[in-house]
């Protein structure tokens, strides 16, 4: 397979974008990535999106987005794997370039979530769980992660305060990210006093509802060396794995086995291990998710994820900074866009463009994107070329 480089990245504005239609949000991010790459030709494109049908009543998305991007006629593919749609779109784009089928591929992700209101968003997001055997009984997405949290706390002694420290850390990182939806710092006390959503998770343990898009332009590394004017970033590892989407069908209720398997594949492909990763963007849709994911990725031992944010291990300046962008928690979580936005953060960090939240000497970063309660997971490793 050909080596693949990321030559351009971009994001739209993220937040409650009442004045902007979904198509413009996507095109805004795609144009930013295309301009950043300095290319004028796109061979093919991918659009990660979880459920535009439920959020805005629009399917057949890939053709629409290629048209509004002014590229009607190119092959365009919509990719869905719940909240891992963006990460999976990136993987499929990378495989298309790596295989030699296409040279320059645009990978975007988009979600417009605010139009349906809170109850509509709860319904749409819950379609990532088992409709007949989980959602039927009244469980919500925060509820499923709350059950993961209670299991982790009972089994490993993880504390309510440790969950809060994940939110505090990620909001601190996000306060240095001008593109974050909620670039504000929060305190442990503030998290613990915020309203309960599903015990023990409170509103400040949850990622927000976000409209937004992100995009990346990729091409063969050899071509990038000739055409790119930016510091080169290459994709060295990619892994993807699935699991049951019903949480109750897992043999271990607080281990994200798909994330673990995807990471093992990506590490093997890159020829590295967890200790070789300088920083990571992980899927902190809820505070407990970051705790379980850093265990699955091997950054900490099983059961010790709770201590990581509290001790500063995963903060900027710590041994392995996690979610320097602010994560889903502070930056926002337009579900289909999240996996691509993680690639944006990795690329900018590796180019040294991250300003106040720059990881010093960042040479190798990892992105982990997750669907549902871990029914799918995608892991990528990017390095300075």
């Amino acid at each position: 397979m050909r080596e693949v480089a990321v030559i351009g990245v971009g994001m739209s504005e993220w937040g409650e974008l009442w004045r902007k239609p979904m198509r413009d949000i996507f095109v805004e991010a795609a144009l930013a990535a295309i301009d950043d790459a300095g290319v004028d030709k796109i061979d093919s494109m991918y659009v990660g999106c979880m459920t535009s049908g439920l959020f805005v009543g629009q399917e057949h998305l890939a053709s629409m987005m290629s048209d509004y991007l002014g590229r009607s006629g190119i092959p365009a593919t919509r990719v869905e794997s719940a909240c891992a749609s963006g990460g999976l779109a990136f993987r499929l784009g990378m495989i298309e370039v790596g295989s030699g089928v296409s040279d320059v591929v645009l990978v975007g992700g988009v979600e417009k979530m605010n139009d349906v209101g809170g109850d509509g968003a709860t319904y749409a997001l819950a379609t990532a769980a088992d409709q007949e055997y989980e959602v039927y009984h009244g469980v919500t997405f925060p509820g499923l992660y709350a059950m993961v949290a209670n299991e982790h706390m009972a089994r490993f002694g993880t504390t309510r305060q440790q969950l809060a420290h994940v939110a505090v850390k990620n909001h601190k990182h996000g306060s240095m990210n001008p593109r974050a939806q909620y670039p504000y710092e929060v305190t442990v006390d503030g998290v613990l006093k915020s309203v309960l959503v599903a015990d023990p998770l409170r509103i400040l343990d949850c990622s927000p509802i976000t409209d937004g898009a992100a995009a990346a332009v990729i091409c063969p590394l050899e071509m990038a060396k000739k055409i790119s004017k930016k510091p080169l970033v290459k994709v060295t590892g990619s892994g993807h794995s699935t699991d049951s989407i019903a949480l109750h069908d897992r043999h271990d209720l607080s281990e994200f086995a798909a994330a673990k398997r995807a990471a093992e594949t990506a590490y093997k492909m890159a020829g590295v291990g967890p200790a070789d990763i300088d920083f990571a963007e992980v899927h902190d849709c809820f505070t407990i998710a970051e705790i379980c994911v850093i265990e699955a990725l091997g950054f900490v031992k099983r059961g010790e994820g709770g201590k990581a944010a509290e001790s500063g291990l995963t903060a900027l300046g710590g041994k392995i900074p996690v979610n320097t962008s602010g994560g889903l928690k502070s930056k926002g979580h337009p579900v289909g866009a999240t996996g691509v936005a993680q690639i944006v953060e990795l690329t900018e960090q590796l180019r040294g463009e991250s300003g106040k939240r720059q990881v010093k000497g960042a040479r190798r970063g990892l992105a982990q994107n997750m669907g549902g309660t871990g029914g799918s997971s995608v892991v990528h490793i990017l390095e300075v070329a």
């Binding site: 809170g118 109850d119 709860t122 319904y123 819950a126 088992d130 007949e132 055997y133 989980e134 959602v135 039927y136 009984h137 009244g138 469980v139 919500t140 925060p142 509820g143 709350a146 059950m147 993961v148 209670n150 299991e151 009972a154 309203v195 309960l196 959503v197 599903a198 015990d199 023990p200 998770l201 019903a246 949480l247 109750h248 069908d249 209720l253």
Partner: protein, 130 residues
């Protein structure tokens, strides 16, 4: 909810019907066409045990619209005797008296209402075992 979508799950929701693999004995709930353990495609229909242990739970405070009348309510994952795990509400107990590891029993209850004119949906919920 479209009536057929509700109706076709009734054997599971009303009678806890599961599929037991004829080759390896794994019990699947709901029934499947392929055994996830051994790949076999033939099953016997069996009924799940109606008692088990509460493995984890939460209290839903922000509920979907069909459940707002019940909120706050507890939902948990119960490991039924025999090893099958199900997601179900835990009822007939004060929310702060629920304990991980406690014994529960499955009962047939009303689960949700599909608005004022829609169908009433029934199924299993768990209550403390006597």
């Amino acid at each position: 909810m479209f009536p057929a979508r509700y109706w076709r799950e009734m054997p599971q929701r009303y009678r806890l019907e599961a599929g037991k693999c004829k080759r390896c004995g794994k019990v699947c709930f709901p029934p499947r066409l392929v055994c996830p353990k051994c790949g076999n495609r033939t099953f016997d229909t069996v009924r799940l045990a109606d008692e088990g242990v509460l493995k984890t739970y939460t209290v839903i405070r922000v509920a979907p619209s069909q459940f707002t009348g019940q909120s706050p309510y507890a939902v948990g994952i119960v490991e039924l005797d025999g090893g099958v795990l199900i997601t179900t509400q835990v009822v007939d107990i004060l929310l702060d008296e629920i304990k991980l590891g406690q014994r529960v029993r499955v009962e047939f209850r009303r689960v949700q209402e599909d608005g004022s004119a829609g169908i009433i949906c029934y199924g299993y919920k768990c209550v403390p075992a006597a």
